[in-house]
Assembly symmetry: C2
Homo-oligomer: 77 residues x 2
């Protein structure tokens, strides 16, 4: 079983979309884990070691995908 790890930090703007993407992963192929780095700071080093530069990020089989789904700076003003 391959592993998909979703790292995030509880960004309220992003949370629903993260859930949708994590739910879209084929669970017959991947064991899916969602890690809130704000609540589990002890796992930041692990995420960094996997190559995570920002959150949200999806690590599929040790390959990192940094995901930015449109939280533009204008939307945050």
């Amino acid at each position: 079983m391959r592993t998909a790890i979703f790292y995030h930090a509880g960004c309220p703007v992003c949370l629903g979309a993260e859930q949708m993407l994590a739910d879209g992963i084929d669970r017959s192929k991947y064991r899916v884990e969602v890690v809130h780095l704000g609540e589990h700071a002890d796992r930041v080093a692990e995420a960094e070691a996997a190559g995570v530069k920002s959150v949200p990020a999806l690590v599929l089989n040790d390959q990192v995908f940094h995901i930015n789904f449109g939280a533009s700076i204008d939307a945050l003003k």
Copy 2:
């Protein structure tokens, strides 16, 4: 059946993302379509209308996820 459309432009970043992410989508939930915008420029307008700003991007149920950063959609026009 929900729809997942993966837009890309053949760049190395795109192909790596396609291979891992498109294959990881749960095909019992999503009909997956892969669109190479470099070869199908007639679909750029459709991608833009869906909110795609750069490729590779994954549109899951009308929600856009921009993955890493390969190319601006403006470069594909």
